[in-house]
């Protein structure tokens, strides 16, 4: 009798516990597809920080890292959709077509594609961050602090996202220092510490005293530290890798958006959306400013940050000219989102051609 009582007590407790757990977990499963390893301390790392925020909010998550932007991506997506995930975040530009293709086959699964523009099916949303706002801040700092008036910029691939960043950076730098030159080197990789540092070294050898980067590893800031020049962290706060060199970093903060969207799936309120958030919405975060930045410049940067957040200042305010002197944005106007999204020309003051 005693035994039966204990057993039933235990089993009812287990039953109760399972109920509680499932109530907390809300039964929504989110999956994340990453281009790099979660340990890149850059792009993918920050997406994974966002995923952990979803986990902390009580939802189940899984992730697949190092997925190539090829037919492999389709296979991974199909596998995830088949294995009971309700929402899948695909976190690289190159997943655009695979995401839309697989979304068609699984109308009940929600797809969220980062940095793309194709929403071919009602279950596909896109989201991106206005990193160019952060780059306007970096440009302001670089233009004010350079002594050689040569600023190096290690770029990854010639896509609008990267071109927009180069332009925003250069425009902001020119505003505070009309004599600066931005030298661009294309590394044709998102993530290869050896190559990235060779590119940075070439720029430093050619007289650049501040290096900006649009690739993901921490190699560039380390090279800058060794060479005694300044640099900016990309995607995450890279200060501890190069405490003297890193003036500030532009951090990608995906967590709030991810939690929001997964919640929407759980509540059944999810609908197709195109999100493009910047400093104002907290998707783009500027790390602490280094003490090497003089205090008046710090104040100026803080003000610019507040103005970009409130929308009082737009990073692309006319007049803006292209390299040949043609007018891109008229005086008093700002570039609209359509123009920003497809930006494939350099502004005046950037050296060289965009690789085709």
């Amino acid at each position: 009798m005693h035994k039966i009582f204990t057993r039933s007590l235990v089993s009812s407790l287990v039953f109760l516990f399972t109920l509680t757990v499932s109530a907390v977990a809300k039964d929504v499963k989110a999956a994340f597809v990453y281009i790099g390893p979660t340990g890149d301390h850059g792009w993918t790392y920050q997406h994974d920080v966002g995923r952990k925020a979803v986990e902390a909010a009580g939802y189940k998550t899984t992730y697949v890292e190092g997925v190539p932007e090829s037919a492999d991506a389709e296979r991974v997506l199909r596998q995830l959709a088949n294995s009971g995930h309700d929402v899948i975040f695909t976190t690289s530009f190159g997943y655009m077509n695979p995401t839309n293709k697989v979304a068609k086959e699984f109308p009940n699964v929600k797809f969220e594609h980062a940095t793309g523009y194709k929403r071919e099916h009602p279950n596909v949303s896109t989201y991106a961050a206005r990193f160019y706002e952060g780059r306007a801040i970096l440009g302001t700092i670089a233009g004010s602090m350079t002594k050689s008036n040569v600023i190096g910029y290690v770029a990854s691939f010639p896509i609008p996202e990267v071109i927009r960043g180069i332009n925003s950076f250069t425009l902001a730098a020119q505003k505070v220092n009309p004599n600066i030159k931005t030298k661009i080197v294309w590394a044709f990789t998102w993530y290869d510490p050896g190559k990235e540092s060779e590119a940075a070294k070439a720029l430093i050898d050619q007289g650049a005293d501040i290096i900006a980067q649009h690739t993901d590893s921490t190699a560039i800031v380390q090279i800058a530290e060794k060479a005694g020049v300044y640099a900016f962290g990309q995607a995450s706060d890279m200060d501890k890798f190069a405490p003297k060199a890193v003036l500030t970093s532009v951090e990608n903060n995906w967590g709030p958006y991810y939690v929001d969207r997964v919640k929407a799936v759980a509540n059944g309120t999810w609908s197709q959306k195109d999100t493009w958030h910047g400093i104002g919405d907290g998707m783009v975060v500027i790390s602490d400013l280094d003490s090497a930045i003089p205090s008046d410049l710090q104040a100026k940067v803080k003000k610019l940050q507040a103005d970009l957040a409130s929308g009082k200042v737009h990073a692309f305010t006319g007049p803006i000219y292209d390299q040949k002197g043609g007018l891109m944005v008229a005086e008093g106007k700002t570039a609209d989102d359509g123009m920003l999204a497809g930006m494939m020309t350099y502004v005046k003051g950037v050296e060289g051609d965009i690789p085709k």
């Binding site: 290869d192 510490p193 060779e198």
Partner: protein, 310 residues
């Protein structure tokens, strides 16, 4: 534009620094191949060296232990290869490929805990002499000990193979293990030693990447340099001095193409990026076209298993 002599010195220094891992791994693999063993696991052994060096440096705090540990790790992983190919007589190509896949996988697994940790500064030699002579002193002074070791290694390797008895034994084993065995040479022992030596050099090459060149750990950080090292061995026709030339050309073009971009030279970037691969192969093929010499230096039993009937 005026080309400043110091600027050229700086470029040459960067080229040499980028050639170091290629020279180390190629010279190691060269000895392995000269003994008749084809080990395609260079990339895997390098990445194991990279994570071992970085992990040991972080845990123990000693750079010496880290560098030696990375070489031991290279030796350990190549022991697996040696055991499989020499004792169990497995196919060299398949085993080597498996070794690379294994190395990349296991390094990523160990590396999980070491991501996002900044590396330590590696001490350099002759730092005070760095600004004494224009052009020459940045090339000659202020580098890590591994750097100096790498640039003397091809000459030692050449001397070892051509002028020493041991080198002759290695070559004999690689050319005709049967005859060598009949002469009383322990073929298995020689091949084991050469494989383990190759492992140690690849481990050192990996440690150079994760501790000196870009002091950090990230997955896959060797980025295909192991495969380039392998190609250098073949295209240099198993000649250590030509490996040095090939590694310098490869490293040189990689860096010069970045400089050309930064100078705004109007050549398609994609072409510039492909240039190092094309030119290195073309140059090495051209300087090695003497077919008699190729026959002499190619280990004739490369990749063939040897077992002794008792």
């Amino acid at each position: 534009m005026i080309i400043d002599i110091n600027f050229v010195g700086l470029i040459i220094t960067s080229i040499m620094a980028s050639a170091v891992p290629l020279i180390l791994a190629s010279c190691g693999e060269l000895i392995t191949e000269r003994s008749g063993v084809l080990n395609l696991g260079v990339e895997g052994m390098m990445i194991i060296g990279a994570i071992s060096g970085f992990a040991l440096m972080t845990v123990t705090g000693s750079l010496f232990i880290a560098v030696v540990g990375a070489m031991i790790a290279g030796v350990l992983i190549s022991t697996i290869f040696a055991f499989l190919t020499q004792t169990l007589i497995t196919n060299h190509v398949a085993t080597g490929l498996a070794l690379t896949i294994f190395g990349i996988g296991i390094s990523a697994m160990i590396g999980k805990n070491f991501v996002g940790i900044p590396g330590k500064e590696f001490p350099v030699l002759f730092k005070s002499l760095k600004d004494t002579i224009p052009f020459l002193s940045p090339i000659l002074f202020g580098h890590s000990i591994v750097f100096y070791f790498a640039f003397t290694l091809p000459f030692f390797t050449n001397y070892f193979l051509k002028k020493t008895k041991l080198g002759l034994i290695v070559r004999a084993v690689g050319d005709s293990p049967e005859s060598a065995s009949n002469q009383g040479i322990n073929v298995k022992l020689v091949r084991y030693s050469c494989i383990l030596y190759g492992g140690a050099m690849c481990g050192l090459a990996g440690a150079y990447l994760s501790m000196i060149y870009t002091p950090q750990w990230i997955e896959n950080m060797t980025g295909g340099r192991g495969w380039i090292a392998l190609a250098l061995v073949v295209f240099s026709t198993w000649n250590p001095i030509k490996i040095l030339i090939g590694a310098m050309i490869f490293g040189g073009l990689t860096i010069i193409q970045f400089h050309m971009q930064a100078m705004g030279v109007r050549i398609p970037v994609q072409f510039l990026t492909a240039l190092p691969y094309i030119v290195t192969i073309v140059v090495l093929v051209v300087i090695s076209r003497d077919s008699r010499k190729i026959r002499l230096s190619t280990p004739s039993s490369l990749g063939k298993s040897f077992y002794k009937d008792n």
